[in-house]
Assembly symmetry: C2
Homo-oligomer: 909 residues x 2
């Protein structure tokens, strides 16, 4: 986001190597085509400072405009940006001078452009890629499974299109809002070299870029810049070649570098729409600066790419530091912590998360694309404009609609029943026309996990009593309870159920089970109101605190809270209400406490009989703004746990990192924001612990949170703000919708578990997976045909608890892409943290596995063809993979946190 | 100027034909190359409405930025514009699709670009031009001799570069601020067809453009526009092809047209820097709109050029109206008359005018270029930004410096004296270090006219008496008078002369004469103060009135006076002073009255003994603005002449047009601005007359003026304004300089003659030529070597009074370009208005004329190869040239106002 002068974005250049599992690999030289890869790098001059000019553009896949508006260059009144023209122009200009280079990373745009090109143009571009043009991947703070799916899709497209020359050799990360360790791990699971600018202390980077991912001051020759062009015609006025060369040499010599190679990123947001301006001046810059070598300038400038730069760093044969921590929270100045976007647009964040679970039951390209686009850092981060958020949501909804057709067909085929299948997307607010009116219906529960799940179902109904039977015809205990006032208030005419029917369902791994429901009796239920178990009331803060947002005192010099930035105007949150209106009920299925703190904040605390976790269903909104104060609502969990200033958060839903209050592991922090500076992203879970207890919260979407007081965990639920925070989006984060014109109402769940630390992972690991990959529930009205198959599992047997089947998707006619993940960290649990073996031939119930080939994580290269540059770490130790051979080709061993990717040749049984 | 939404500029498309003398001719088909000219036009569809899309850019040769800043795209913070990239991009894009067309007109830019191109690129462009790309000329309200010189230079470059395919076939005039009849006459001396938008009533144009020279609303696809691109990928969001086609058809059908051909100008100021945006969408527009022909749309869209459009108008075989009047004053709304620029920047206007006289004694390309650039409508008009005006002045000064070297060399060679030659450029304020200090010096007077001139010389001196002898050693009468207080006040330390030495010099045609000056006596002179002749005091207004400028009442809705627009806040001018402090003197050389009206307004009224005209030397400035009022100072000449609401002004320094108060010849005027709406451009002269007397004012630069009361003529001298007038320049016209930091002081001369109407032209025609082509005076210190040739004439004999030698310039090694002009209108005089004959072989004293070929006016085509389209005028009469053969090839006959152009093959005698 370069839109405002206030904000200097930071650059994050990940140069990856030595990946044990996955990354952007480099082929060995013998296998390399002579024209692509490192072979295509320009020669450097050993005795000189070599300046690698890397022409690039940074094209947000939606931010101030929608992805297609950006692509076409529509709505240029909002922001001047037209990606179709960028690609047109860069290709033209690369053809004009074979020395020129470019990197392009946004595959979502490239794909759109590619399919509009003629065969001739496609061949031209293939030729350019063969000659050494790199294409690389972008990220956001997202769930790892969605990231991997997105990468796979994009890289597969590149593989299919360009072959191995199009395979990215480095990861190119610019403009993330902080950087997750898990992301680096996914790329390399090992070491990271990075060059960045203002991520306060930079631990020994190979070079600090002078101006973010922008070109150095005075050297921006895009049409969007006003820097003076190189005027080299001596017959015209203002000849400035000497001035340009002098300025360039002085910038180059002033840079910090460890080798005699430095990189300059020559480009920025949506630049190169008219690439001639850039290249014409870069050609001249290279010519005139290098002419000065004869005067002893000692500087050599060349067109380059990140991988060519990496190659030179490698050749330098130096030692490099390792980085163990991550880059959160990111701040661009003392009071400007980018911790607001962890929570911004909570409804969209949840929608994105559950859409990803759809992916697991669908290979539909369209859905995959919608979810991939939403992984962009301005999408799921919530830092896009409202109309763009609406576009993302619409794309997801569109993907869902297509996916429902596919799911219906699949279920019809598996079950042998073609009865119309109904989806109820608003069960979270007790809306489902079929269950509200039908006297007899069946419920199909599809479980995308590789182990059986037990799941509480809540259906809106108008009857008082129902009989339910499972797939084996066995009666299932159920209860009917009145719909809560909070639910009735938020559904806004979309449904009229007075009751909710509760029962527990179970579904087999990668399979479904079907339940039949029959109305027994109409009328209101007589709930049993009781008192909850003791520990809950002692654990919970019975309040919902909120922060009032800093409004910058109407001054531009004081940072305000906004879509990106969280900055409370005091460090003590306001308590919305010290007391709550409360109803409690208990029956054989659930105990619940319904709490109303104010007309716009309520909560239901539930403990299902079969559950390992306490559910806090929160409903927040419309956040009132009549007092002209933006508000950021948190849920705070206070406990007696002696957490000693330490808490833990996950990284992209996978590994867990320790966080210490007012502290950073690799550099000295001077804390300037006591609240916002202690917030971290919580993508799936956070916990505090002491020797005895661990309180873990599993979230249903990405949220921000912190542990400001010992024993306390707070999670930001919803934000409504009245000012833009001057990072370019140009809108206050003030969400409304057609249904909630007075302010968005958001509902979500926090799942709490309290366990001894040694066994906590045994609960939160599967729990978090269940929240991400929740069962898919469909309904069929009336009686099912007797021949209907009521239960099905795609697996021969349940997988071990440690193994998560991350990906199963059809790759082509005869093959399936499978990713198996060890979902425990080493030593976070006892038995589950051990290595585990899976036999690929004994996996599927419907497929014979005829062959297997292991691939890299992104599935764009065979594992045994991967080689990487060999780097010296400062520890002296080489982090080369040292793995024993598998006992057999079918037996797959998984170590803690390992993900392995296989392409299986299969035959339908 | 499209910079502000307030101003809708108008389009002036001159489609020229039947030129008797000059224009952009069209070759006959047999001589035409098969690939260029009309042959390259796309076929149209007879039964449909054919929409000619004309891609074009309008590139001011200096306005908000200097010409080289525009060329390179420097200072894009002022205005985004880079012409080098426009030409790069358009050439690229034309190569991508042979159907595409483009017109480019600004040769000053094209020349800069061309010489930076490789041979390959030059050949590519030649090929494109051969395939039918047109290149055409721009204009401004300027002196005709400068316009012709500029055209000649530009067209010669095109001829030399592209041959006959590059020869423009039509004139393309967009964005002039009104249009002079003389300009049309210069182009065609006959008839004009025009298409324009808001030049109130448009007399039967072939089609009115929907949006000035812009594309129609919603169809601007330049990078500078925000109109939606054509989104034709059905897989992406916002598919809009149907919408675009519908909107286009509705605009096309709504247009006014006389044939089934309409023109749409697809471009605007500095557009096509990234031509891909335009052409990609235009390609789609043509494809999709023409697809609708099968649905009966009846509209055919095609790429076209003005000449292709013209060809179709001609084929329509209709009758067309003739236009006799001109388009002044131009107004873009009731109170927004563009009559301020007639006077804006009076100092620059004078500098440009006298620089042109340098051209006549020099073939230096550099000077020619500087003057040509200054012909641009934003240069001499004074509507550029201050820094751009400074750049023009600097270019002219640079040209002068080079020219001085050439003149010195030429004079040395002719005179046989290599004594150092000194130039005094500030004689108008009595500054000349040599004459101020030298006791003996010589004065060389070079006369660029083809007839002898007698000229008063005023030199700053510190002596009291001098002896002067002419080239024949004969004593010359001289007088010494004290320097006036006004002059002493404005020279600001550049000179310290206390006296001025006055004497009359005479110089032979196209030659020089040398005067020797010796100091006789030091000390102050004793002037003879006397009373001027009677008629002068009765004629003159002894005041200098001024208008206070409208300041728009600080409201944007009320038009203010500015660089473009003159709008006084009342119709009655304020009298600066009713009385003047006066000194009068008389001697054998001159009588003069020195008048001080205020500290910032003074005047010297002079009558030289040998002169036919009274000289009013005015000095105005610094115009005070302490009262926060902009001021526009006029000189008003009141007389008893019964002018009956009629006065006369010249058109570009040549033909004279009648102006009638509150009236336009070809349409009904509702006068909305009694002063500004009656102002007209005075490029060289204006007059009022009755049966008995004609009062003629000859100006030394372009100025605005009017006759608001009968018997009165007012001329605006200087303007200082505090507000921008919202036509894009974005600066108030508030001139200061290093020498005049408190406000520019400007000095100039009005030459008045009072004669019977029948003989008035006999005075004002030669007078005006003398003001434009004034003698060039150089100085040599000390005694000249006795062998020095003190007098020289390039002519064998004086030419007849009617004949003006408009151009004599070396064309190449063996040839000279000669233009002879009959400088009288028919019947404006008795003897001089008769046709006249000149023998080309008896012209030059130093050259033998070996051969002659007549050319068209712009010297880019042989006269006998010119043919034009044959048009039907509404009068039914054909305006084809009907000229008898010359009696001999050497005898050249000139009819009134005729200009003939010859290329002479010569040999030095």
């Amino acid at each position: 986001k370069m839109a405002t002068p206030v904000y200097t974005p930071f650059v994050f250049l990940l140069l990856l190597f030595q990946s044990r599992v996955w990354g952007f690999p480099v082929r060995q030289t013998p296998q390399e085509s002579p024209t692509c890869g490192y072979k295509s790098c320009h020669a450097t001059k050993p005795g000189m400072l070599n300046v690698h000019l890397v022409p690039h553009t940074h094209d947000d896949v939606g931010w101030l405009k929608t992805v297609d508006q950006y692509f076409y260059g529509d709505r240029n009144d909002i922001q001047h940006a037209g990606v179709q023209y960028i690609l047109d122009s860069v290709v033209d200009q690369l053809l004009k001078n074979p020395d020129r280079r470019f990197i392009y990373v946004e595959t979502a745009f490239f794909y759109r452009w590619w399919k509009q090109q003629t065969d001739d143009m496609q061949n031209t571009v293939k030729q350019l890629v063969n000659e050494g043009k790199a294409r690389e991947g972008d990220e956001a703070t997202t769930h790892y499974s969605a990231v991997i799916d997105q990468m796979t899709m994009g890289l597969r497209f590149l593989n299919d299109t360009f072959g191995h020359c199009g395979r990215p050799r480095v990861a190119w990360h610019i403009d993330p809002f902080g950087h997750a360790r898990e992301h680096a791990s996914m790329f390399a699971q090992a070491r990271v070299i990075r060059a960045h600018s203002n991520l306060n202390p930079a631990p020994s980077p190979p070079g600090i870029l002078p101006n973010g991912y922008n070109p150095p001051e005075g050297f921006c020759w895009d049409q969007s810049c006003d820097d003076p062009p190189i005027r080299d015609d001596p017959d015209l006025e203002d000849y400035n070649v000497d001035d340009v060369v002098t300025r360039f040499l002085s910038i180059a010599h002033a840079l910090v570098y460890k080798t005699n190679h430095i990189i300059m990123t020559m480009g920025s947001d949506f630049q190169y729409e008219n690439a001639n301006l850039w290249y014409k001046n870069l050609d001249k810059l290279i010519r005139y600066v290098n002419q000065n070598q004869s005067n002893g300038s000692g500087v050599n400038v060349l067109y380059s790419t990140p991988s060519c730069y990496l190659q030179e760093l490698h050749r330098a044969n130096l030692t490099w530091p390792l980085k163990g921590d991550d880059f959160f929270p990111y701040a661009d100045s003392d009071h400007d912590f980018w911790t607001g976007y962890f929570t911004s647009r909570p409804a969209l964040k949840r929608y994105e998360r559950i859409s990803n679970s759809y992916l697991q039951c669908s290979v539909l390209w369209l859905v995959e694309k919608a979810v991939a686009v939403a992984q962009h850092h301005d999408a799921v981060s919530g830092t896009e404009k409202q109309h763009v958020a609406n576009d993302y949501a619409r794309r997801l909804a569109n993907g869902w609609a297509h996916c429902q057709v596919l799911v219906s067909n699949t279920l019809s085929s598996l079950s042998g029943s073609s009865a119309p299948r109904v989806y109820c997307e608003h069960l979270n607010v007790s809306v489902c026309p079929l269950t509200e009116t039908s006297k007899k219906f069946s419920v199909n529960v599809y479980n995308p996990l590789a182990r059986p799940v037990s799941w509480p179902v809540r259906l809106p109904v108008n009857g008082t009593a129902y009989s339910i039977s499972d797939a084996n015809g066995k009666a299932v205990d159920s209860q009917v309870v009145p719909v809560s006032q909070a639910t009735a208030a938020v559904r806004r005419g979309r449904g009229y159920a007075v009751n909710e029917l509760l029962f527990q369902v179970q579904a087999p791994p990668l399979g479904y089970s079907t339940y039949s429901v029959s109305l027994l009796q109409n009328g209101p239920p007589s709930p049993h109101f009781v008192t909850l178990r003791d520990f809950l009331s002692s654990l919970l803060c019975v309040c919902f605190p909120r922060y009032n947002a800093s409004d910058g005192n109407n001054s531009e010099s004081i940072q305000m809270s906004g879509a990106y930035i969280f900055r409370p105007n005091t460090s003590t949150p306001f308590i919305i209400s010290k007391t709550a209106k409360t109803e409690t009920l208990q029956n054989s299925v659930v105990q619940e406490v319904r709490q109303w703190f104010s007309p716009w904040v309520s909560q239901v605390v539930r403990l299902y009989t079969d559950s390992r976790a306490l559910e806090l269903e929160w409903t927040v909104g419309p956040v009132p703004i009549g007092d002209d104060l933006g508000k950021e609502v948190i849920s705070r969990l206070d406990s007696s746990i002696n957490s000693s200033g330490v808490f833990y958060t996950d990284s992209n839903g996978r590994e867990v990192l320790q966080r210490r209050k007012d502290y950073r592991p690799t550099w000295n922090l001077r804390q300037s924001e006591p609240i916002a500076g202690n917030y971290y992203p919580i993508n799936s879970r956070a916990y505090i612990k002491d020797d005895k207890d661990q309180l873990t919260v599993v979230t249903d979407r990405s949220q921000g949170g912190g542990s400001i007081q010992d024993g306390s965990l707070e999670i930001m639920l919803h934000r409504r703000l009245l000012y833009d925070d001057v990072r370019g989006v140009g809108e206050p984060l003030n969400e409304t919708s057609d249904i909630y014109p007075e302010g968005l109402v958001v509902r979500g769940r926090l799942l709490l578990s309290l366990s001894p630390p040694a066994t906590a992972a045994d609960t939160h690991r599967p729990l978090a997976q269940e929240v991400v990959l929740q069962p898919l529930i469909t309904f069929t009205d009336g009686e099912l045909h007797p021949s209907t198959r009521l239960e099905f599992s795609g697996l021969q047997a349940v997988l071990p608890p440690a193994v998560h089947m991350l990906t199963v998707s059809q790759w082509d006619q005869d093959s399936v892409l499978l990713r198996l993940e060890h979902q425990y960290q080493a030593s976070e649990s006892k038995e589950p943290s051990q290595p585990v073996t899976v036999n690929l031939q004994k996996l599927f119930s419907t497929l014979d596995v005829l062959g297997v080939s292991e691939m890299n994580l992104s599935a764009n290269q065979w594992k045994d063809e991967m080689t990487r540059l060999d780097w010296k770490a400062e520890s002296g130790e080489k982090h080369l993979p040292k793995r024993g051979g598998d006992p057999s080709v079918w037996e797959v061993n998984l170590k803690p946190m390992e993900i392995r990717t296989f392409l299986l040749r299969v035959r339908q049984r």
